[in-house]
Symmetry: C2
Subunit: 324 residues, 2 copies
Amino acid sequence: MLQPDSLASLQKLCGQHERFVVISHVRPDGDAYGSTLGIALSLHAMGKDVQVVNADGLSPLFEFLPGSKDLTVTLPTAPEPERIIIAVDCADAKRLGAVFDQWQRAPDVNIDHHISNPGYAKLNLIDSDSPATAQVLDEIITALKWPLTPEVAANLYVGIMTDTGNFRYRQTTAHTFKVAARLIEAGADPTTLAEACYQSFRAERLLLVRELFQAIHFANQNRVAWFCLTPEMYARSGATPDETEGLIDYLQTVKTVEVAFVVESMSGGLTRASMRSRGTVNVQQICAEFGGGGHRLAAGLRTKLDPVALEKKLLDLIAKQLPT
Amino acid sequence: MLQPDSLASLQKLCGQHERFVVISHVRPDGDAYGSTLGIALSLHAMGKDVQVVNADGLSPLFEFLPGSKDLTVTLPTAPEPERIIIAVDCADAKRLGAVFDQWQRAPDVNIDHHISNPGYAKLNLIDSDSPATAQVLDEIITALKWPLTPEVAANLYVGIMTDTGNFRYRQTTAHTFKVAARLIEAGADPTTLAEACYQSFRAERLLLVRELFQAIHFANQNRVAWFCLTPEMYARSGATPDETEGLIDYLQTVKTVEVAFVVESMSGGLTRASMRSRGTVNVQQICAEFGGGGHRLAAGLRTKLDPVALEKKLLDLIAKQLPT
């Protein structure tokens, strides 16, 4: 739950200003896009002048989101002093990207659900019990009686649906389902939006999955599963690195798998890994050894180690934590 | 919505009887099991004597359902005349299986959501707008103020979650989400139940998926996708035929795929196929040519044709319906 005084401050700020810019983190996911566009369209419906920016622009996978065509990679000029900067779904101001760095101004408002968010703005509305920033925005919009148009509802629905893995992850509560019901009543179509999110990939992504399945490894009596994404796999399948979202989920369908990870060699000699845990192993702790971050159950890292060396180190670190 | 007089008749019937047997269709899915156990446990909480039967018994994949250990393949004797037979989630009495045939009695009550259900019982409660029989049961339990224990709630939640493909398929409405919220408040845990349904497979199933991906075919500019399951794939992966649920979903993740199908050779010289459509092609019509059935968007068939011949016929029939 948000504090009543934070909500009142936000209402006052929005009453006093006419111009806004909304921004979220680099490598945006459904909650980043949905939250950015959701609050922007609600403010716009109140007659405000609202810009939407993301350092990584708009992924083709999210072009279906209402209002997404207005999203720009950068602005012609830095926001005027009286334009309010709202950051959404971003735990760390450093992840707002190059476009934000150029502005040389702290965000005015910081709306988020990540527990690690230090509150880097003048006004911070953070609910770490919420499974998605879009659900925090629903609370704001409901409490302050802001417009909930069908377009706002669709964006918030996508934020909640994707950040809860289709209403499955921890922090999904009865309240989450009630919010979803309200958003559907306001005009979000659950079937169309789910199809847009989960059944709208290119055939090339399926061919990449085929490559990955050839490279599945198990260890520790099938308690650990992983695969390595190689440049050759991209070349053979025709898929691109922005089509890898959700691939780690395949490994997690196996009951015995307590830890799943994906290792990928990137351009510039870097290697990245994405890790998931079912609970017993703390993958955030493992990723932190390489300067990475995340949560206990989902974390990531980047390193100069080559993929083979990283794979070996990760297996060692996992084995140390696995209860016997 | 159910008719008030049907609900009143059910209430009266349950008030007048102490013994019940609940049964569902062969090859039971999450809604068949969840509905069977959900209504049985609610009746049991009212002090009734309730038996639960399924001709195919209990799949290991659903052993996590509360009350499932009481599910039997057959009964020691046919139900006594005063024992009320309740069929759930079964569109056609023929699909109640061998155990039911032996009883040589029509079901007393028929609770379902399939539009094709002809109403084969003395008392029929069918809501074809509902995405799951478990949601029909929620309506009954709510209207008649029957007990909604945590165990009943968990079973109904699994029925709704699985039959809506995680709240994605058509017929999922705001009401479905409100029902889910109520079930969670009554004790169903969405995270634990989703993990039990979707992340509790054997590693062998993942190896079967690997085999299948090697055999993916596309046709008609990637508008049709399919694969054939062979005995060799089972042998190499170690998976079993009851582990194929949901595999067709992988094909449907591709945006261009309007029709997806899986062909499988079964024992006894039979071949079966499962088909899915995104909307333009009516797969029920195609399956009907082989005596199969289902819905416009999801249907199946069994034939004596060999897999190669069936594959060719299906591709021809699909091509005829595909708009150019």
